[in-house]
Amino acid sequence: MNTPLEPFDFNRREFLRGGSVASLAALFGMVQTAAQDAKPAEAEKAVTVTNTGVIGLGTRGREAVTVLGSLSNGRVSALCDHYPSALKRAGTAAPKAKQYKDYRQLLADTEITAVVIATPPHQHRDIAVAALAAGKHVYLEVPMAATLEDARAIAQAARDAGKVVFQPGLQERSHPQSHFLLPFIRSGGAGRTIKARTQWHRKTSWRASSPNPEREKELNWKLYRETSPGLVGELGIHPIDTINWFLGQRPKSVMGFGSIQQWKDDRQTADTVQCIYEYSNDIHLSQELTLTNSFDSEYTMIYGTDAAVMMRENRAWMFKESDAPLLGWEVYARKDSFYKDLGIALVANATKIGAQGKNPMEEAPYPNPPLFYALESFLFNAHELTTGTKDFIENFGADDPKALADHLATLKLLPAPKWKDGFEATVVALTANEAVVGGKKILFQDEWFHV
């Protein structure tokens, strides 16, 4: 039976265990940091559902199809890929969706109001610009493009687009965990920021195979310089954006190193990469990415004078220094041990009794993938903007653009990155890749960020 009391129901043994672990951990002065999550959306659709088309049906495009299906405000109404078997494969997850081989046909479909573009970045420009021109809401995966020129053209189109949402795929910006951590870091919860570090470690070739040699070449766009934004552009862009966002600034320079250590096929893209980004106040971010060793997977650290904060798989922990001031809440927070260190869970509900005694390593504070929150924001905001504009014009006419803009500014939207955030992150990541390719240091010029 489902009663309002159920969530507070816990068994006594679990409570005692949780209590003792918590108090024991408190003795050692450790604290985890995370925000409470919403219930996953049902498959049944709300009346606010947005008919969405997914363009580009590789791994990322298929993930978008799955996520859209699980969102109450998402519906995959059209699929597009020029490769027939990719279309067929994605079609099994969205059997009712119309299938298009050419994205221009999908964009001409007036029933589709929003598109998710998940093609390789070097194909983004034409599709994104045409989608905006067709008046569609656009979710564009990052990097926004494979060249600065293409990225700028897309940014200009997004800036000049009418009443549509353009959301770059910086998914962390819509994640509830980020919105819990941002004020914590910015308000000095870990003291003054000293430095940052991020890594992405996997053992994988990054190569896709196909019986068709032409298709194989096409599938492996990530391996060749002409089409690849490199490890740092393709994957490193997310933590770079998180650090830029949390620090509230862009890096002044980037120094890059890259080499092919293991996957010595005909590829031109480094399988092992290191970058150092320089920020103001002599803060540096060091970034390591490799396809040759999986140790410690992926995470991002921000080191402060009072504590280090680790962000890992949409969870976060704080590691306090012994001389750091007592914040209070950490006494009750969930703790996890990392070899000789104790991590205090940085979670919004970490102090709730209900959370005690459960192993946070097993229990995900956010049951949905990051793309879920990003697309939820995208579709919600698209719907709000569309209906807000329609309601206003139907009742007050379209003669006063300022009054309409004022009205739209009152709409409460879900957090999402803007075209400018996507463009800036793309400029930084593509420039970092250039530094890696050339093995050099590059100073960022302000005008590179002008649109």
């Binding site: 489902n2 009663t3 309002p4 009391l5 159920e6 969530p7 919403a38 219930k39 709300a46 009346v47 606010t48 109450s72 405000n73 939820e376 919600f380 209906t387 807000g388 309601d391 206003f392 139907e394 009742n395 007050f396 006063d400 009054a403 004022d406 009205h407 009152t410 409460k412 879900l414």
Partner: protein, 229 residues
Amino acid sequence: MKPPRLLLPNTIAPAIAIVLALTLAIALGSAAPSASAETLTRYQATPASKVTVHGTSTIHDWKMEGKIIGGHFEIDSNYPLETSAGKLPNLKVRSSAEVSIPVQSIKSGTKRMDEVMLEAMKQPEFPKITFKLTELSPRTGEHKPGDPLEFVSKGELTIGGVTRPVEMTVTMEKFEGNKLKVVGTTPIKMTNHGIKPPAPNIALGLIKVGDEVKVSFEWITARKMEAAK
């Protein structure tokens, strides 16, 4: 589109209208010729309105807000809508109003609750809440100069496709020269309009929403033209 109806409600025969117009002219002590007594001033909805719905539930009270109230209001041009008046004339005021609110413009601030309410109100089928004024009479008695003018309004309220008569007190106040603010509050029972109070399964389990809600509004209109017959 139907041309806007500028005069009396259909229910009143023309003969009565003439008598009423004359009475009005006399009551107002106006020396205006009868042609001017037939004139209505039209106020058209403008942005900056506000509608608030206060409700209850088994968990906590809730509130939803909208910023769009469309439609128009017409009132006898000779009726003194001046708050400086010491006493309001005791008569029925020739007027008409058609008001409409897009259901989807009323928001709770949370995605899930908005979805639940839109579904309960059968929004795709009945996208608008409408109100049609049938009678407007001033509250008699002393009026403190400067206070908004008080009227009793009667009309037909349509929610979820079901029309019910409604009577409520509204106040009116001119401001910024050509603008008119109409303010009112009325309780509404969802079940009277065929709406089942939602009982969604959110977060902490089953929540039951109370049948009765309180709807308050601040409707901003502006004088656009003098309509004459």
